[in-house]
Point group: C2
Chain length 767, copies 2
Amino acid sequence: MGLKPTPYGTAIPFEEKELKFVGKNPTERPDAIEKVTGRARYAADYSLPGQLFGKVLRSPHAHANILSIDTSAAEALPGVKAVVTMDDFPDLEVEIAAAGELMVNFRDVTRNVMAREKVLYDGHPLAAVAATSNAIAKRALKLIKVEYEVLPHVIDVVEAMQPDAPILHEDQFTKGVDPKPEKPSNIATRIESKLGNSEEGFKKADVIIERHFNTKAAHQGYIEPHACVANYTEGGYAEVWTSTQGHFVFRSQIAKILKMDLAKITVTPAELGGGFGGKNTVYLEPLAIVLSKKSRHPVKMVMTRDEVFRATGPTSGTNTKVKIGATKDGKITGAQAELNYQSGAFAGSSLSMAAVTVFTRYDIENILVIGHDVTCNRPKVAAYRAPGAPMIAFGVESVIDELAEKLEIDPIEFRLTNAAKEGTQTHFGPKLGPIGFVETLEAAKASEHMKMPLGPNQGRGIATGFWFTIGNETSSTLNIAEDGTASFVYGTVDVAGGSRAVFTQIVAEELGIPLESIRVVQSNTTSLGFNFTTAGSRGTAAGSMAAVKASRDAVARMCDIAAKIWDVDIDEVAWEDGHARPAGANVGDFDPLSVADLAKKAAYYGGTIAGHAELNVVGGGPGFGTHIIDVEVDKGTGAVKVLRYSVIQDAGKAVFPDYVKAQFHGGAVQGIGMALNEEYIYDENGIMENPGFLDYRMPVASDVPNIDTIIVEVPNPNHPYGVRGIGEVPIIPPLAAIANAIHDATGIRLQDHPMSPPKVLKAMSEL
Amino acid sequence: MGLKPTPYGTAIPFEEKELKFVGKNPTERPDAIEKVTGRARYAADYSLPGQLFGKVLRSPHAHANILSIDTSAAEALPGVKAVVTMDDFPDLEVEIAAAGELMVNFRDVTRNVMAREKVLYDGHPLAAVAATSNAIAKRALKLIKVEYEVLPHVIDVVEAMQPDAPILHEDQFTKGVDPKPEKPSNIATRIESKLGNSEEGFKKADVIIERHFNTKAAHQGYIEPHACVANYTEGGYAEVWTSTQGHFVFRSQIAKILKMDLAKITVTPAELGGGFGGKNTVYLEPLAIVLSKKSRHPVKMVMTRDEVFRATGPTSGTNTKVKIGATKDGKITGAQAELNYQSGAFAGSSLSMAAVTVFTRYDIENILVIGHDVTCNRPKVAAYRAPGAPMIAFGVESVIDELAEKLEIDPIEFRLTNAAKEGTQTHFGPKLGPIGFVETLEAAKASEHMKMPLGPNQGRGIATGFWFTIGNETSSTLNIAEDGTASFVYGTVDVAGGSRAVFTQIVAEELGIPLESIRVVQSNTTSLGFNFTTAGSRGTAAGSMAAVKASRDAVARMCDIAAKIWDVDIDEVAWEDGHARPAGANVGDFDPLSVADLAKKAAYYGGTIAGHAELNVVGGGPGFGTHIIDVEVDKGTGAVKVLRYSVIQDAGKAVFPDYVKAQFHGGAVQGIGMALNEEYIYDENGIMENPGFLDYRMPVASDVPNIDTIIVEVPNPNHPYGVRGIGEVPIIPPLAAIANAIHDATGIRLQDHPMSPPKVLKAMSEL
């Protein structure tokens, strides 16, 4: 993610202890009632008095020069209060700058938000209108006259890499190659990462398998379209309520794009109706602010589903090559991978993250990973749950399966033979700490699932996944009111609905007060210190670390109050089971003081009880999982039905076990959808053909079996409760596991995604 | 204010140093543009989707038993979504409980919000309606049938004290008398406070003067009527946006009245359109929440001006006696005062606060102060700028003037002879610290004003005032964003529009960054630790102390980052002029690092830069002032015209001098209004006759002369910048100063307030 590791990060070592709240399912989720009664406010639920409605004019071409934009007729339409184009935004230099920790090229970011010289994809914004109604705004869009010079376009990643491909950016020369190229290219960056010598490794192998794989772009498919309300005041302040996974990073992006001071912008994260990586970057927000500034009214903008598909980031379509060699007794001796990842219209795919995951489940001495980040005439890609990892795992875990088959070794045993463990050297740098990969494989081997018999046309597939847990900047505050009830204010957006419950459990555990006495509240960007986006599986791991720190701060303050009340030294006060108690031999016999007792007296003894955390949390809680999938293939139609599904994953510590299972389920379901049906389809003009849920086929309930889960718990040594990130891992194995299961059922090996009925049918016919 | 002093409070000693921002008028007030462009959101500007409108049914009787309330017809009216009465509120025990530090009897508070057994004043709420429009809500009020048993009532404080007066509360027995009385009384409490022996003091006097004074109730007259929007969710959370001087205390009151957990309530203070003590307590908020709970919609409630006058707290009407004796050479030997203060329908006037101020400008060895808090059939009184003090100062400073005249001593010299100074023993307990009273008298003596000649029918009056500055609980947070701009989050409501500017100056001074880089934001009750109400002149004094603490926290964190960057010990880093600089002989030669430099690197070096304060601020910044007023009396009409006005006051340190002057002006103008015209008028049935600005005559521009100001600066030793509270003092002297000026012009001495033309005319005719 372009995030530098820091030696100054905070780790709180794992503490083995008896737990009262952590690890037990709370009877009620703090957000549940608000959500089912419709009280929770999603971005489109916000309204400000006097607000206007904003709509975006989007390119109908995949690639074209903008010759002119005439907005005069739109501006003249009654009810239209502002029309903006590129002229209303500052142009930005090529500047790879940090916006809230992420290094981003703002010349590109501003051009993605509002096209300047060129439109680069079907749906690229090039003007926006604010009007007194949505209907008027839409009518105004039709009155904007744009002259285009249509250019040749390129959609596919392999085609885009060809020397004669239409070039998106004449000033883009491939980075990471020596000497610097003389001709511009759609290959924005080449990366290379190696360990040992892979060619030498292959020499020691008895069997080598090399395969090529292709995957199509897929969308995160969140229920809630992007939406925001923005208000810009004459005092130069901007307020934004929006659907985001990271309001602090949104604030940073807005500040850069609009050249504003960070302190003058307040971004409030609304309740989130799904993100999965797709809500890490601004689309509407800068437009809404500039429309508000120009119209002097608040402006609300809500995307249609069509806009979500055409103009927000899906995952990359990819072309990959995987080559692995192993000895007869099943030891992998060398491995190579090439990753060609679409970045969409502007450089910067998930390639660098994906490259970290390629072989990082196995202890391999010789590795070479090469990657290319490739621009093409598609919307700029975004993160999608374990960004980039499922596609390369599709290749690696398929080849592993094929190797095991060829060597006649059980696929779980083959993986156990090569499994990464504490001390395994990765190809990208660090050695692995204590991890639970072997434990997931052993649990898979011992599972009931492995004992279930398979019928005709049925097959079983295994695949595994790895994701690092990032930590990053995390701030929180705990305020204890005079009655002893507590407000925990956090800033890692609750993207999946579990954060509030988990933070409540952690604070209850630390303070020793009931769950009902704790309210957990999401802060805006002004009231709290910086929090990085909820991504990289960091939400629970990093957010709960900040909760621990803030709680312990507050406990220290409560011990201080007790010491003053008892007139003893603070060292003579201990915090146990929700009470300050006298500690040590020389202390008198005082009645324990509860949080409520102390809160009532806090003012007299120096001021309110609060605790604060501003941390850069150390990550280091890598997550590993093993999936077992049984499928049945319809020989007549090629349709693949998932019969049984087991997710076995190391959660470090499952704070809220049912919710951990829900995360496992969610990843698996998204993986099933991606594996079997989801894909972006473009026509010959580069226009997306399926921008809606009728034609972009996400899984429905009948596509998904009951999913069994086994939670493995190997504590993360850098977290006081041992928590690891769990959100990303379960979407990584499904593509490969399903491909392996299809092979088991039919004998075919699919290398083209999605594994939809026509492809299965065709492959079977070619057997 | 019923606030216990604490030995654990925070004082940061005064530091003499060169100042860059503090003491200089900023070129722009941070709230100015938002206010003049209408962007600032006052309570009535808030709207939530789906909100209803709430109206209150109020008693048309001064005193009556409620026999029955029938709401069925109102509930049946289409558009009515909820009707609430006392049955919808929990009854509360007689409990003198702390609600946000203020000790309050919640049995009374809940009965003032919604009458139970009885209505006790014209305007007392006894039902409320929420409907889809204000018009429907008003119509519904008319459909509510109430059966009353009208009771005899009492309005005047002296009448209410008589043994045969109608009794408001049969269970109220005068507290503070021994033996405990057997009969209930409207005298809720008797207080007594003494120093030395006043009778012995009088024996040493050559001249003794004793006078009786009467003042009428006056309203704070804020522009903005009380208003709020409340939303109660099925999850059991309440959100309130309201016009308040103290959202944390409002939260506490709501929690008590509705028996809720504090953490489940969020109160957001809107921009305040004036309060002056009148917005320290809840009126509409609990009603709006209960209406929202019952209707399942947000509810907005806005008072009419009529409701503000009839049913919110004015200051007490009073009856006082002052007796002072002095020797021929002008030394006061003894002083007595009796204060009879209306509390309105429920016990608890400003008596206890007023009693502290009575003689606390003079060094007198023998003092006796007796006070009575008296219930009568009027709205429960509220604080009004220097609560209770102007009325007793009217008496004391009139008698002082008369004594000086009788002894033929210049009134300023007489006061200088007796002036309190550092070490003076007060009658209520503490000795005074360093104060600036003598300095204000000396400055008055030397002023240009004293040299201005007076014409016929013109006179000059002098009077002085004292107010203690309270400190109390104050919390704040300073968050520094990645670009080095800062957000200062505070919780002492900006009641007068100066807080944001002052806090900006303090943070700029501490951090060494420009004013423009700092945004100052008012927090809700959830995001920040407890803050006491902005009252008692504490806003700037206490709020800026918390700003200093939070800033120094952040500076310490920045020095920590610099130490890590330079790899030196933190003791080897100093903060000077907005930069971390190497300090000490052994440190290398490093380039200084600015806030922006450090902010950019904060994440890598451990996390965001922030600072926090949770303090119980030590008060101890008593304020003193001397006013000089010239008037001209129209012998034909009795009209008094204020010709010249000078306010001389000790501000400790004027952080924002123009705003200090504005506070002086504001107090003087309110004092002029109170002195000459403002009064509550009741008819024989106890119904207020002048509940509107046409009949309740507040001063207009033509009533007020240009007001000169002299700022004296004797630093408060407990505040790092020497700040004292300044808001209350300037309303204390005007009544007496005008009375003394009228005497100087005409020879009459008025003891009845207001000094309106009929009274002046009558007194002149009796000369």
